[in-house]
């Protein structure tokens, strides 16, 4: 079991990992927008566009809050991801990650949703509530295949520790080769987890005015932009750790996570949006089936 | 092939009486006839009881001085018992007749079905389950279908 040599190393990790995640996440956001633009034969935003957006949102002169819970919702949404980011192993910094494990992490990933849901709830905006109702339903949809995948992987590695899984993969073979079906199902779940097209019914801009974000202004929206970049980062690193053997060094790590996140991004704009129940249906059908067959192979 | 003994005839008679009585009690609707069937039934049973002490060659069970030892006597105990049973039976029949008279007076019918329906209705009215207003035309089935 990995541990830290000193308190300073721990503090360094605590500080460094969220910052790293944020920066990488910003690049991923840019990448997402660029891919979308290119697929639509546009030029797309400039390189620093994500930074401009966040700076602009944080520098708004006026912004509204519907109450303390509204504020806390954003705090939890961002903070939950910060905590989750800390529990994800990156090359050379897996000391804290070892305290968590995959089950804990899966639960940590639900905390931001719940926090944000609470915040949106206090806005008393029906569009927001509808959005949350859809978002939670979507969570129900993608979490079941995701959890099955997690189960299969943990069963395969006989461990719930992400660090242990990475060690195993680096010693033997990548998980994607040992468990191709689970990896495919995981990719499916990942698509849902990122909350982008085609599974973004819960924001549905033209219908419910971006749902949960309807009352988010200024730094509230900024917080959500920060959260989004964390979200891309977490999804890609998690998938990399489970199936692609993590990263032995930084170069490999970055390569893998950008490769992973590129796949769902590319798929995103190829499909129209799914309705909530259709999303649930498709998520409970194909990835679950794949994952269960995958588990059968694992056992 | 020997002739069947006289007991067989007696037994057949007794059991026949019982069967007729039973059939009567079962099938007859008129209360008075039902009582008559009951009388038949009792007669059959009494006969059966007497037969249990009957000896084909037996004599009356009276100990006389000239009575030859070893001669079969009919058993006196059942006869005594049957006497008692008949007395009781008559008593009960008398009681039943009295009841039938009073019922006829009240319900103006001797049909067991009708008596039962009126009785059920009366009981229901008495326990407050059915209102007495409908007493004039008791519905078949009384209150139980409530």
């Amino acid at each position: 079991m990995a541990s830290f040599n000193s308190i300073s190393e721990l503090l360094a990790q605590l500080l460094f990992m969220p910052m790293l995640a944020f920066l990488l996440g910003l690049v991923m956001v840019l990448m997402y927008r660029k891919i979308a633009a290119r697929l639509q034969r546009r030029i797309g935003p400039p390189f620093f566009q994500p930074v401009y957006d966040i700076v602009k949102l944080y520098s708004k002169d006026t912004q509204i809050s519907h109450g303390l819970i509204h504020d806390i919702g954003i705090v939890v949404a961002v903070g939950g991801y910060v905590a989750a980011v800390i529990l994800l192993p990156v090359p050379g910094m897996d000391g804290i990650a070892d305290k968590g494990g995959i089950i804990t992490l899966s639960y940590f990933l639900m905390i931001p949703s719940l926090g944000m849901a609470l915040g949106v709830g206090q806005c008393a905006n029906p569009n927001g509530s509808i959005g949350i109702s859809r978002a939670l339903t979507a969570m129900l949809a993608y979490d079941i295949p995701f959890i099955i995948v997690v189960f299969g992987v943990a069963l395969h590695y006989q461990s719930t520790s992400l660090v242990g899984m990475i060690d195993y993969q680096q010693a033997h073979q990548w998980g994607i080769f040992e468990m191709p079906l689970l990896a495919a199902a995981g990719l499916f779940a990942l698509q849902g987890m990122m909350g982008k097209h085609p599974f973004e019914i819960y924001v549905a801009p033209a219908e419910i005015a971006t749902g949960p974000m309807v009352e988010m202004s200024g730094k509230f929206m900024g917080g959500l932009f920060v959260m989004q970049s964390f979200q891309f980062y977490v999804a890609s690193v998690l998938y990399t750790s489970l199936f692609l053997g993590g990263g032995a060094n930084w170069f490999e790590f970055l390569l893998k996570i950008f490769f992973v996140v590129e796949i769902p991004m590319s798929i995103s704009f190829l499909f129209p949006r799914y309705r909530t129940e259709d999303m649930v249906r498709i998520m409970w059908k194909w990835p679950v089936m794949l994952a269960l067959i995958g588990i059968a192979f694992v056992i | 092939m020997t002739m069947p003994g006289i007991e067989v005839v007696f037994y057949t008679g007794a059991i026949g009486l019982i069967v007729i009585g039973m059939a009567g009690v079962l099938m007859v609707k008129n209360v008075f006839r039902m009582l008559l069937a009951l009388v038949l039934l009792e007669a059959g049973a009494s006969l059966l009881l007497i037969l249990s002490g009957f000896r084909e060659t037996g004599v009356a069970p009276i100990l006389l001085s000239g009575h030859a030892a070893g001669q079969l006597m009919n058993d006196p105990v059942p006869q005594a018992l049957v006497l008692t049973a008949i007395v009781i039976g008559v008593g009960i029949q008398a009681l039943a007749l009295a009841l039938i008279l009073r019922i006829k007076h009240r319900y103006h019918s001797l049909d067991m079905g009708e008596i039962r329906e009126q009785m059920e209705h009366d009981i229901a009215v008495n326990s407050g389950v059915v209102s007495p207003a409908s007493a004039q035309s008791p519905e078949p089935g009384g209150h139980h279908h409530g």
Binding site: D61, I74, L118, P126, L140, F151 | -
Partner: protein, 630 residues
């Protein structure tokens, strides 16, 4: 005289005093003192929670050649301390303002009756937990049913009364199954002692064990509200007056779990559960029971999702959470069973707190109907906070204690390689998250109604127990080792391998759990989030709830725009078809069958010819005798 004797004497005294003085004002203080004293006595026995010796009562009874005795072991103590603590919290809850308003609404006598009902519940549960043989277990069992019935029957509402009747019929059915099993045991062993059964069960045939387990399990499952006997519980608990719901919800149904532990695990034995295969299937008893648990996590949870009344929603969750406990227990390994037991404790804390918050909401607003609530967070912030803590626990998210026990259950299912059970448990958890959000959203978030604009925070007497419970939830969530001590002792007493743990959680070679770290990391993350939020960016102005984007629509107090009805409409499009009420129909079918038979019997009793039956039976029996002899 042992401590257990003191407990019983105190119980008897308490019941007596309360019964005599129940009309007097101030009786509630006495009741609180009573529960506190009871808790003190239990704490005196706390050696049991740390591997102490079994404590016997010096009172015993000889009847039918059986010795009835009462004792406390680690399992009983574990359940007892939860019971008494729940009693104490309910008593405190009802001792202040809530009690006054209840008095005003009903009468002194009714309030006193509620107190008596609570006390009888606690007492009867202690008797049940202390039972030392099957007969005393059954006696305790019946007493508990009675006491709960009394509690449930106190609500004058029609629905509540129907629920109470339904409960008692179910409870009687369960008791009768238990009685049958007990009689069967007596038929086999000629004794009702635990030890005899434990010995004899080794020699029993598979069929006998299956029959016995089935009978016992039916009895216990009814109390616990497991599938397919789940219909009675939620309505009955929900419709009980608030402190009663707190108590019943927190612990009452867990008596079924205790009995399952005692009879199925301790007496019939682990080996049997694992080895005996159900004929014509691949399943053994353990799998069947585990699946009952898994289905119980799913079905009632999704019924809860559809409820439109906060109390009913919670009560349905109570049924569902029972499934986790059974599921954990039925893994029969050290980790899972510890998880199941720990869940009993954790569940009691947050379910009690949740019912209290709803009680407080009802106290202030007079309703728990989702369509009539909303936006109370500004009015009742502390109550809201307790509810959030509790729903985090109920949903099993870190850092509350509910997470620890669920983690243990999941982890042990993982270790055992039970994918389907695992998935079932996860489906249950996700359903719980959906439904608790609905709960908190529809009561505390969203639009505040005009008529609730002057609602105030719950009074202190209601808040204190809630806040203490919230604190317990958090502390035992962060340091589950505090409770795991007791759980490990209970596991030892059950004959299982105790779980390896430390203060922060579970120690496992292949990935353990350290809640202290996890909590700290979470709080670090939240701290970073707070810094980002509060230090960067400008001030935010609080705005009125009508200052809200509604597509350019002008919102006023005349417009109701709280989204609460059919909250998960999308999901319901998909799964709505599954709410067929199959179990309800089954229940109705049984009632119809009984009704039909009853009508047939009645018609038989109404034959026109009085002597018909005599003759028919004579003929029949003579015919069968002659046939039988030949």
């Amino acid at each position: 005289m042992s401590v257990l004797d003191e407990v019983f004497i105190l119980c008897a005294l308490g019941a007596l005093v309360l019964f005599v003085f129940h009309r007097i004002r101030g009786i509630e203080k006495l009741a609180v003192v009573f529960y506190a004293a009871l808790l003190y006595l239990l704490i005196k026995m706390s050696g049991l929670g740390y591997g102490g010796e079994v404590i016997y009562s010096s009172f015993s009874l000889n009847i039918l050649g059986e010795t009835l005795q009462w004792r406390f072991d680690a399992v009983s103590w574990f359940f007892a301390i939860i019971t008494v603590a729940s009693g104490l919290f309910s008593a405190v809850f009802m001792s202040g303002k809530w009690g006054e308003s209840y008095r005003e609404k009903t009468s002194n006598a009714a309030y006193g009756t509620l107190q008596i009902a609570l006390l009888l519940n606690v007492n009867s549960m202690l008797i049940l937990l202390a039972s030392g043989d099957l007969l005393s277990l059954f006696i305790g069992w019946e007493l508990v049913s009675w006491a709960s019935f009394m509690m449930m029957a106190l609500n004058p509402d029609k629905q509540a009364r129907q629920a109470a009747i339904k409960y008692i019929v179910y409870a009687m059915a369960g008791a009768m199954a238990f009685l049958a099993a007990m009689a069967y045991v007596y038929g086999i062993t000629g004794s009702l002692q635990y030890a005899e059964l434990a010995q004899a069960s080794a020699a029993l045939s598979n069929g006998q064990i299956i029959l016995l387990s089935l009978l016992f399990f039916t009895g216990f499952a009814i109390k616990m509200g497991l599938i397919p006997f789940h219909l009675w519980q939620a309505v009955a608990y929900a419709e009980t007056p608030a402190p009663g719901a707190v108590f019943l919800g927190a612990i009452s149904a867990r008596m079924g779990l205790y009995a399952i532990i005692v009879v199925l695990i301790q007496l019939i034995g682990l080996g049997h559960l694992q080895q005996i295969h159900i004929p014509f299937t691949f399943w053994n008893l353990q799998t069947v029971l585990a699946w009952v648990g898994a289905l119980t996590t799913i079905i009632p949870t999704y019924i809860a999702l559809k409820q439109n009344d906060a109390r009913h929603l919670l009560a349905w969750h109570g049924v569902g959470q029972g499934g986790y406990m059974l599921l954990g227990l039925m893994t029969l390994n050290s980790l899972g069973s510890a998880g199941g037991l720990l869940h009993v404790f954790n569940y009691a804390t947050y379910q009690a707190a949740l019912f209290m918050t709803i009680g407080a909401v009802i106290y202030r607003t007079g309703t728990a109907n989702f369509d009539k609530l909303g936006g109370l967070v500004t009015q009742m912030p502390l109550t809201f906070m307790v509810m959030v803590f509790s729903i985090i626990g109920l949903a099993g998210l870190p850092p509350m204690n509910g997470f620890v026990s669920k983690w243990m259950v999941y982890r042990s299912l993982l270790l055992d390689g039970e994918p389907l059970l695992f998935v079932a448990a996860v489906i249950g958890t996700l359903g719980t998250i959906l439904s608790v959000y609905k709960l908190v959203h529809n009561t505390f978030l969203g639009q505040l109604r005009v008529e609730h604009q002057n609602v105030r925070e719950a009074p202190l007497s209601l808040l204190i127990p809630m806040l203490v419970l919230a604190a317990i939830m958090f502390v035992t969530g962060m340091m589950p080792g505090l409770v795991l001590d007791w759980v490990a002792s209970a596991q030892l007493a059950m004959g299982l391998v105790p779980v390896t743990y430390n203060l922060g959680g579970i120690v496992l070679a292949s990935g353990g759990l350290d809640m202290i770290w996890i909590t700290l990391i979470l709080f670090y993350g939240l701290g970073v989030g707070a810094i980002i939020f509060y230090l960067l960016g400008g001030r935010a102005k609080r705005v009125h709830q009508y200052d809200n984007y509604a597509g350019g629509h002008f919102l006023t107090s005349r417009v109701r725009y709280h989204y609460s009805h059919n909250f998960y409409a999308g999901l319901m499009h998909l799964i709505g078809g599954w709410y067929r009420g199959s179990f309800k129909k089954l229940e109705q079918a049984i009632v119809s069958l009984v009704s039909l038979l009853s009508q047939l019997s009645e018609n038989m009793y109404r034959s026109a010819q009085p002597a018909m039956m005599v003759i028919i039976v004579v003929v029949l029996s003579l015919w069968s005798i002659s046939g039988g002899i030949n």
